[in-house]
């Protein structure tokens, strides 16, 4: 597979480490890999010897393009011309808010959980397209994750489009399930907004000229004996019940969030305690060793 990597430079140690790790991986997979930089690097790592190019002409067509992004640079504009192949953007998260090359990518790689959150929350990228890479120190995991992502992306085709939805003739599309993929807060807001089931704006009308008013008056009065003493109070009770349930659900949700926060706190305390214990044990062990040495 031909893979083109594009980066602003090799000055940033962190970006440079990622580039070297990725190029090593691709070479070991027998991919033909090239690194494109806007200008020749001053002191390139030995692993990159013979693989660095500074293109004055359009890029060589490749199956995969990996754009490293930590701010704007001249080669980045070519992402807007990539109508073939598979495009990766490795977003290093240092750029100011504004133009985001990740919008042009099939897959966006990030190195921190916070950046992933920002890309999904603020910029609206779907979770399926934003992948958190393992730490560079965890070499095996890093290589396995990247390799799998590349293999998946180059063969990724969306499900075939069909001309009819399978349930097109089934009755009543329910409104989006509040417990679907939306966040609990949004879902609860939706449920709260739907608690009032009364059609409060509804008025009996008739569009017939002249007699329309009379027809509406008759219809109103013919149904009022049922509506006022029976239907309306029943529905109002249902609305009140719905609101109570929503209030209760909100309390449960708040309690759940509180418990989650407590669990998080307990986890962090547990890890601190575990670290302390390990340290204590080591100190204790080294103390014992010294005692043994003294005895010896």
């Amino acid at each position: 597979m031909r893979i083109s990597m594009l980066a602003p430079n090799l000055q940033s140690a962190m970006i440079s480490r990622h580039i070297v790790a990725q190029m090593n991986l691709f070479r070991q997979r027998d991919d033909q890999v090239r690194l494109y930089l806007p200008a020749p690097p001053v002191d390139p790592p030995v692993e990159l010897a013979g693989l660095v190019f500074t293109p004055t002409e359009p890029l060589t067509p490749s199956e995969v393009y990996v754009f490293h992004y930590a701010g704007d640079y001249p080669l980045l504009a070519s992402i807007r011309e990539r109508d073939q192949g598979t495009v990766f953007v490795h977003d290093h998260g240092a750029a100011p808010k504004g133009w985001l090359p990740a919008h042009y990518a099939d897959v966006c790689l990030v190195s921190s959980r916070e950046r992933r959150q920002e890309l999904m929350g603020f910029y609206g990228l779907p979770p399926e397209r934003v992948h958190l890479l393992p730490e560079l120190d965890q070499e095996a995991a890093y290589r396995a994750a990247l390799s799998e992502l590349v293999d998946q992306a180059v063969t990724d085709v969306w499900p075939p489009s069909v001309h009819r939805m399978k349930d097109v003739s089934t009755p009543a599309l329910a409104p989006a399930s509040p417990w679907g993929k939306t966040s609990p807060a949004t879902s609860l807001s939706l449920v709260r907004s739907q608690a009032d089931v009364m059609l409060r704006d509804y008025t009996v009308r008739s569009r017939l000229p002249l007699v329309g008013g009379l027809i509406a008056w008759v219809r109103r009065n013919v149904t009022s004996h049922l509506r006022e003493p029976y239907l309306d109070p029943t529905l109002e009770r249902q609305v009140a019940f719905n609101r109570t349930v929503v209030a209760w659900m909100e309390q449960v949700q708040a309690r759940l969030e509180e418990l989650e926060a407590q669990i998080g706190l307990l986890h962090s305390q547990a890890s601190v305690t575990a670290a302390d214990e390990t340290e204590e044990r080591q100190v204790h062990r080294s103390g014992s060793d010294e005692q043994v040495d003294d005895v010896g």
């Binding site: 109508d83 073939q84 598979t86 009819r164 939805m165 989006a176 679907g180 939706l190 704006d201």
Partner: protein, 415 residues
């Protein structure tokens, strides 16, 4: 890229989806793409009357306009009869009535898409509720050109996405551009694959919304300088919540004599009835439909924008208020709740609940500094996320992803 945009109307026709497609087309043309637009000659969706010329170049975009069949009483009857029966029975035999009654029907456009579609790299359909999306889809599909659709689905109004042929378009398109993440989630709940949906949104040109001095803006629209001004901006249809705004204003005004409500936007039968009942209300000012400069002055003149609408696909007026530094109040519907950050740049109220609206308005009345902080927060959000340029990045990126996916599919590497 060579791109064809198909839409029911195009500026100078007024409307949110018209503005969306025009901004997008012009920005793409500015970036060097060839953009053609096929649309009707109409300015008025009530009648689809043919009022505009057949061809023009608007800011680099080739706009081809086609004759549409005028919507007279018979078509309205078909629409109402078909819709009434369809929602009751869900029988497909009523769909043609809704399609024909909905319009605009431009046979010339259908033929032109059929003959010219292969000249384009892709076809982008705008606003699912109108007929050109359906016949544009059929024509594009028959010529095997990639299709992208921006449905502008109002999740609370099934008529904007739930009729059989509309759902067939959603399911059959190569990609769907949702206005909000809530709309994306909603479409996924309807059974669409998440990989085929991207959250785009709507943007504006901040330079078209200069921040003016409130005193000068208030003089221009005829409001006192020391007032606290609420602005309702939008078509005064029943679902837009104009009645709620008026009701909340009537509750608060007696205790706050310096409170004013200005209403900007075209009236409807509903609003006329409402206004007839509230004639002579102190502090209320109905400006009706106004030119852009007056709209801008109204935005600058207000202290808070109010649009408690129960049916919005996005709510571009929120962006317009934010960009001039004003806080907003909207209804907590699925789409709007992903646009407004409650308590940060505005408030979300329970749809249809006047008391909730009054509570939040009182909060802003008591603390004008909070209103200013929220407005500033909103402005920064628009500049970072909701400009035409940012939205075009998303759409342009989506076009390229669609072309790449198609190429992968056709290249034979993928079974």
């Amino acid at each position: 890229m060579r791109v064809l945009h198909i839409t029911h109307q195009y500026p100078p026709a007024i409307g949110g989806s018209e503005k969306y497609i025009a901004d997008l087309s012009e920005e793409l043309a500015r970036r060097g793409h060839q953009v053609d637009v096929f649309t009707s000659r109409s300015l008025d969706y009530h009648t689809w009357r043919n009022e505009l010329g057949p061809y023009e170049v608007r800011n680099g975009v080739n706009v081809y306009r086609f004759q549409s069949i005028q919507r007279r009483a018979l078509y309205w009857w078909m629409l109402r009869f078909g819709a009434r029966r369809y929602w009751r029975t869900r029988a497909r035999r009523y769909e043609p009535l809704i399609f024909l009654g909905g319009g605009p029907l431009c046979p010339g456009m259908f033929w032109r898409i059929l003959t010219r579609a292969p000249r384009y790299d892709l076809i982008h359909l705008n606003c699912l509720v109108y007929a050109p999306v359906a016949y544009g889809f059929v024509a594009a599909r028959s010529r095997k050109v990639p299709v992208i659709v921006t449905p502008h689905a109002h999740t609370e109004q099934e008529v904007t996405y739930g009729i059989g042929y509309q759902r067939a378009v959603l399911q059959g398109s190569d990609h769907v551009l949702a206005d909000t993440s809530a709309e994306r989630d909603f479409l996924m709940d309807l059974g669409l694959d998440g990989r085929r949906i991207t959250t785009g949104g709507t943007g504006l040109y901040p330079e078209n919304y200069p921040v003016q001095s409130p005193a000068q803006a208030r003089r221009q629209v005829g409001l006192p300088e020391d007032a606290f001004v609420l602005l309702f901006l939008g078509r005064k249809a029943d679902y837009k919540g104009f009645d709620l705004a008026l009701e909340a204003f009537k509750v608060l005004q007696p205790d706050h004599p310096f409170l004013y409500l200005a209403a900007v936007g075209p009236g409807t039968e509903f609003s006329e009835r409402l206004l007839a009942r509230n004639r002579g209300l102190p502090g209320f000012l109905d400006l009706g439909s106004v030119p852009d400069d007056v709209k801008l002055a109204a935005l600058n003149a207000c202290d808070c924008l109010l649009l408690p609408s129960s049916g919005e696909a996005f709510g571009i007026v929120f962006l317009e208020a934010w960009v001039v530094g004003k806080p907003v109040i909207g209804a907590r519907t699925l789409a709007v709740s992903t646009v407004i950050d409650h308590g940060q740049d505005g408030f979300l109220t329970i749809p249809g609940d006047v008391n909730d609206l009054v509570a939040y308005l009182s909060c802003l009345l008591k603390d004008p500094a909070l209103a200013r902080r929220m407005g500033a927060q909103g402005r920064s959000k628009v500049l970072d996320r909701y400009t035409v340029s940012r939205i075009t990045d998303i759409v342009e990126g989506t076009y390229l992803r669609v072309l790449r996916e198609r190429h992968r599919r056709q290249s034979g590497r993928v079974a």
